[in-house]
């Protein structure tokens, strides 16, 4: 929220200089996102009174005759859309010849035959506001003609204040000033009150019953639809430009000036925090206002901004007295300019006014609505309709429930003062607003929660400064928060207010002393495993990547991964419409960032979201050589290197690792038909390893072989057991097994290990041969078997084992290759 420093200073005369405010606001929990010094118009911009405004025949221009005070009577031509409607006496900002604006020096020039003495400027042209839709216009008598505008529009500082959703009380100049004054212990000057005594007004108001429920959460009783409504009428208002000071404040707050009636409503919202709606009294049929919901469902409502909104069953509407007599909303919302405006919807409560009831050029009699609506109901409607206005922003956070009459009075007072309006009769105020209840707090509990020693008397003083009524004896604080602090409900809220005004800087620094409950022991195990994996893989030469979990049906299809099981309802981009079902597409995408032919060794530890549920995976990828050729020979890559790295990972993790070859239809479609296998980790199948299918590699723009692995995490562990290393020498034997080529080495090794008995220490292949000597379709795998016993093994002991192994080999239908 933007507020000019000068406004706060008006409310707190002893406010410290702007340069000292940043830490003060931060310590209040209202941090400043920025402080901007705002410019003042250049010296040569003079406030000038309009003497005559004449349309120039055959052009879009208006000729203005101006009283420029000491500069005499001057004429300009302007194309501004609002120039034609200027009335004699109104004041414009004249950029006189010789003045430089935004690098351009203005001079006398001739427009369509009129010698134009400078230019009437818009706020944007003067660099003092956003609005460029028309020239600045101020009411008659704003200043003596010829006065330099900067005298009335001085430079200022705009504070951009960040207001958290709980601090609805601070969404106004008064709210911010109130908090500042309490914190700085300074006097707060209230803005002027409306001048009028209350009495019975002419408007009759009917409110919805309390204790409603809504569809979304029938268990929750809404407190009300609208529990406080003040209506006041002002007649004979001369609508026109609002006073310069009001336009300036609104502009500094980032709001556009429209006309006196609209500006007054916005100004009071910025001043007090209470949104109001102003209706043309001619449209408030029978002087009756009905606040209701459940009516007009499905019908379309035109709003004053030209939009159309379909009424839902839970939209709170403001209707006029003919509600019972009309048949459709279309009729109710018929253009107000028609001879017989239909009775109907004056607005969507607290969000936006309707086309029916809107203030227009010839409006003179105004009905002011100042009400307290239910935050939940309004938020729901605003979200559903996509209408986020400054008013509903305040309502959904919580407006002071008691503020309605005061704001209605203030609007009426301003319209009377600046629009010449007559305040009619009294105000109609209905409803029984609910205000925050009394909170019982213990000052001991507050001290314990904060860990800060603040004495009870200071707590009481702080709370009183904030507007609370504090009673109770000794340690007991009975706190009745002010009506604007609807966020204060429990004693912890009281503790926060005490800490906030005492100063968070005073909090000591201690450390918790706790004996952790047994149920928490070992909770870090998963993280420890992940850390081990990460560090081992980085040590083995893999670079970790962290990739987006987003994917799409298209990408899953391209990677031949499982189709997405979880799709986004509101994707940001077309390539991120779902969550990934596998890691490897992310790794393939990452590998693409590596230059062609260069080594890429990547890993990711991340989550996937297949239809079966969220799961954690480790993915590895290898491309290119293990060590590239330089001035010396390198080390090639290939499956055996990739598998070797996996074996090293397994060894570092203390795992028994096995790869089982997949063939034919068992090979996942993402993998190379001949290079694919199942990874078995400590006896459990955990995933797969292989080469990426060349068609997929091509789809991803990757040339050359790419090896990938994807396994489930956490990986199964195993029990560790110590074996005393034998000091006896080893006995070794070589054996060459001839088997069909599709018999994997793993199968042979498994058979040998199963048959060899306890002496077998290791099996290592040392020669793999295919060729004429052993016949087509056959392969010879020579292995070295190392045996070791507690004592030196003799031939007599080892030979029978070898006989047994050879028998087992032959029993498979394989043979032994003789030397």
């Amino acid at each position: 929220m933007k507020l000019p420093y000068s406004w706060l200073q008006e409310l707190i005369p002893n406010l410290p200089p702007v340069t000292e405010l940043e830490p003060i606001f931060a310590n209040l929990g209202l941090p400043l996102e920025g402080v901007d010094e705002t410019p003042t118009p250049p010296e040569g911009v003079l406030l000038s009174a309009v003497l005559k405004a004449e349309a120039m025949e055959g052009t879009q221009l208006t000729k203005l005759t101006l009283d420029v005070g000491p500069q005499g009577e001057r004429v300009i031509a302007t194309g501004a859309p609002n120039a034609a409607g200027l009335k004699a006496g109104m004041v414009v900002a004249l950029v006189t010849p010789g003045t430089t604006l935004d690098g351009t020096e203005y001079a006398v020039r001739t427009l369509q035959g009129v010698e134009s003495w400078g230019m009437a400027a818009s706020a944007r042209e003067l660099g003092i506001g956003e609005s460029s839709s028309g020239i600045l216009v101020f009411p008659a008598g704003t200043a003596k003609p010829g006065t330099s505008m900067r005298e009335l529009w001085p430079s200022d500082h705009v504070l951009d204040i960040e207001i958290t959703p709980n601090r609805a009380d601070a969404l106004s100049a008064l709210g911010v000033a109130r908090d500042l004054a309490a914190f700085l212990k300074l006097e707060l000057k209230q803005p002027p009150a409306g001048p009028v005594p209350h009495g019975d007004g002419e408007i009759r108001i009917s409110l919805p019953p309390k204790g409603l429920t809504i569809e979304r959460d029938p268990s929750k009783k809404l407190r009300f639809g609208c529990d406080h409504f003040a209506a006041r009428t002002v007649g004979g208002v001369q609508n026109g430009p609002s006073p310069l000071w009001m336009q300036r404040r609104l502009s500094l707050c980032g709001l556009r000036s429209i006309d006196l009636i609209v500006d007054t409503s916005n100004y009071v919202m910025m001043e007090l925090g209470q949104p109001t709606a102003l209706y043309d009294r001619r449209d408030v049929t029978d002087n009756q206002i009905l606040v209701a919901f459940g009516l007009r469902q499905g019908e379309e409502v035109a709003d004053l901004m030209g939009g159309t909104n379909t009424v839902g069953p839970e939209d709170l509407l403001i209707l006029d007295g003919r509600e019972r007599g009309i048949s459709t909303v279309a009729e109710a919302f018929a253009d107000a300019g028609q001879a017989q405006p239909g009775a109907g919807v004056l607005g969507i409560a607290g969000i936006m006014g309707g086309n029916h009831g809107r203030v227009r050029g010839d409006t003179t009699d105004v009905v002011i609505e100042s009400a307290h609506f239910d935050a939940v109901l309004l938020r729901r409607t605003s979200t559903r309709l996509g209408l986020k206005t400054d008013a509903v922003y305040r309502y959904e956070r919580g407006v002071d429930p008691l503020l309605s009459p005061r704001a209605a009075d203030r609007v009426a007072g301003l319209l009377a003062e600046y629009g010449g309006g007559q305040i009619e009769a009294g105000a109609t105020v209905v409803g029984e607003p609910e205000i925050p209840g009394e909170i019982t707090a213990s000052s001991d509990a507050i001290r314990a929660l904060l860990g800060m020693d603040i004495d009870t008397a200071e707590m009481r003083a702080i709370l009183v400064r904030l507007g609370c009524e504090v009673t109770g004896d000794g340690d007991t604080l009975k706190v009745l928060p002010p009506s604007w602090r609807i966020d204060m409900n429990i004693w912890q809220d009281v503790a926060e207010e005490v800490a906030r005004l005492h100063g968070y800087a005073e909090l000591p620094e201690t450390l918790p002393t706790l004996q952790i409950h047994d149920s928490n022991i070992g909770a870090s195990a998963g993280n420890d495993d992940r850390q081990n994996l990460r560090r081992t893989l980085a040590g083995l030469g893999f670079q970790e990547v962290v990739t987006y979990t987003f994917s799409s049906d298209e990408e899953a299809g391209r990677a031949r991964a499982e189709a997405p099981g979880v799709r986004l309802r509101n994707p940001l981009t077309t390539d991120r419409t779902a969550l990934r079902t596998a890691l490897y597409p992310s790794l393939l995408r990452s590998a693409l960032a590596y230059p062609k032919g260069e080594r890429a060794l990547l890993f990711e530890l991340g989550r996937i979201f297949p239809a079966s549920g969220e799961a954690e995976r480790l993915g590895l990828l290898m491309r290119g050589p293990l060590a590239p050729n330089t001035y010396q020979g390198g080390v090639t890559g290939g499956y055996s290197v990739f598998r070797g790295l996996l074996e090293a990972l397994g060894a570092a993790q203390g795992a028994a690792l096995e790869i089982r070859q997949w063939r034919g239809e068992h090979v996942p479609s993402a993998l190379h038909l001949g290079i694919a296998g199942e990874v078995v980790w400590n006896g459990q199948s955990v995933g797969w390893i292989g080469a990426v299918h060349p068609e997929i590699a091509q789809e991803f723009g990757l040339k050359g072989e790419t090896f990938i692995l994807e396994i489930a995490v956490p990986l199964p562990g195993r029990a560790w057991a110590f074996r005393d290393p034998s000091r006896a020498p080893a006995a070794w034997r070589d054996l060459a097994v001839i088997a069909p080529q599709d018999v994997g080495y793993g199968e042979i090794a498994t058979l040998l290990k199963a048959e060899a008995g306890e002496w077998l220490e290791s099996v290592e292949p040392f020669d793999v041969y295919t060729g004429e000597q052993i016949g087509a379709g056959q392969r010879s795998v020579a292995v070295r078997l190392v045996f070791r016993g507690a004592k030196t093994l003799t031939d007599a002991e080892v030979d029978p084992v070898m006989d047994r192994l050879m028998g087992a080999v032959r029993a498979q239908g394989w043979s032994i290759r003789e030397k």
């Binding site: 931060a26 929990g29 941090p31 959703p165 935050a375 938020r379 959904e396 314990a448 929660l449 860990g451 429990i490 912890q492 809220d493 503790a495 800490a499 906030r500 968070y504 909090l507 000591p508 620094e509 201690t510 450390l511 918790p512 706790l514 952790i516 409950h517 149920s519 928490n520 909770a523 870090s524 998963g526 993280n527 992940r530 990460r534 560090r535 980085a538 030469g541 670079q543 970790e544 962290v546 990739t547 987006y548 987003f550 979880v566 799709r567 986004l568 309802r569 969550l579 960032a593 590596y594 080594r599 890429a600 060794l601 989550r607 969220e614 293990l626 001035y631 010396q632 390198g634 080390v635």
Partner: protein, 348 residues
């Protein structure tokens, strides 16, 4: 004449410039039939009276020759070895075999820095699901569906009605439902916001969440804990600043900043600055109540009402950006090898 042998031999030894040449000298004088050996052998022919004196004389000569031989041999061997080693010279400035050097992603490096500090303080480190339900992500954290605070966390909704967690805070709920107090945890993991990407915003980023629950936990404990983290990250001079803020699941709530001492402050004239790192606060009683309600539904005892605790959250991306001077959050997930490679060593 023996004395002459000594002079001759020592001169020959000194002149020998190869081991072979030295061996020849050795053979000539002290070999089996060397000149000195022969003289020793001839001692027997001398009368016993002379024999002793002569023997001693010859032995002295022999010892002198042996000593000269040993010294010369050692010198020649060293020279030969030096020559061989010199011939084996390798240009050690040439690069070695370019073996792969792995590395951790900068986000996880920062996570490691942080979790190391908290593990030292006795916290368990946990992770949790990234797909959440509305109850755990919002309702149980005191953010009902109609709460305006939801506007601060634009959400990716899933077709099945669930959502991508907008913060790691739902793990507060899940962990407390499964465990009893007292407890100290930090949670690491990805979070998601429905936000257009720019230099400081990402649809996916990371958080570190802390939660401590027990008896008599205070806001001063929270501040002390954040200060301990700050010192762990930025050294002993790091200071912590708390300012009031609002998180629906905390009361009171605060934002914390850490004073970073610029090591080049004296030179640059910038002594340091406050780094806004995250939010924190005392656990809101409604959160404890929501946890106990969930526990009760699972048949577990209500053990949280009446406890106090604190929670905090911060973004490792922000810390990494400050620590490594990374200007744009989009660098983290582009996984450009030229960027990732910078988080490893470099040899000139």
């Amino acid at each position: 004449m023996t004395e002459n042998h000594q002079e001759e031999a020592v001169a020959a030894i000194t002149q020998a410039d190869t081991l072979d040449g030295l061996q020849a000298v050795k053979t000539r004088y002290v070999g089996k039939s060397g000149l000195v050996t022969r003289e020793l052998g001839a001692l027997g022919k001398l009368p016993p009276k002379e024999r002793k004196a002569r023997g001693a004389q010859i032995n002295a000569v022999r010892q002198a020759i042996d000593a000269a031989l040993t010294e010369r041999e050692s010198t020649l061997k060293r020279t030969a070895l030096d020559a061989r080693l010199a011939s084996e010279a390798i240009d050690v400035t040439l690069p070695g075999l370019p073996l792969p050097a792995g590395g951790l992603h900068p986000i996880n490096r920062v996570y490691d820095d942080l979790t190391r500090i908290y593990e030292r303080l006795g916290y368990a480190v946990i992770e949790g699901p990234e797909v959440e339900d509305e109850h755990h992500n919002f309702e149980a954290l005191n953010v009902p569906w109609y709460h305006p605070a939801r506007d601060l966390q634009d959400t990716f909704w899933l077709e099945d009605g669930r959502l991508l967690r907008t913060h790691t805070s739902p793990m507060q709920i899940r962990y407390m439902v499964d465990h009893e107090p007292a407890l100290k945890i930090v949670v690491r993991g990805k979070v998601y916001r429905y936000e257009a990407t720019d230099a400081t915003h990402e649809a996916m980023f990371h958080q570190l969440e802390g939660l401590v629950v027990g008896d008599g936990i205070s806001m001063a404990d929270l501040k002390g804990t954040i200060a301990e983290m700050a010192r762990g990250l930025y050294g002993p001079s790091a200071k912590v600043r708390f300012q009031p803020s609002y998180y629906p699941f905390t009361e009171p709530g605060a934002d914390f900043a850490v004073w970073w001492d610029n090591p080049r402050g004296a030179v640059s004239g910038q002594p340091g600055k406050w780094l806004e790192l995250g939010g924190c606060g005392m656990v809101h009683p409604n959160v404890f109540k929501a946890v106990d309600d969930l526990r009760e539904a699972e048949g577990k005892p209500r053990v949280y009402e009446g406890k106090t605790g604190f929670a905090f959250g911060l973004g490792p991306e922000r810390i990494a950006m400050l620590k490594y001077g990374i200007p744009d959050i989009r660098y983290f997930y582009a996984n450009d090898p030229r960027v990732l490679g910078q988080f490893r060593g470099e040899l000139g």
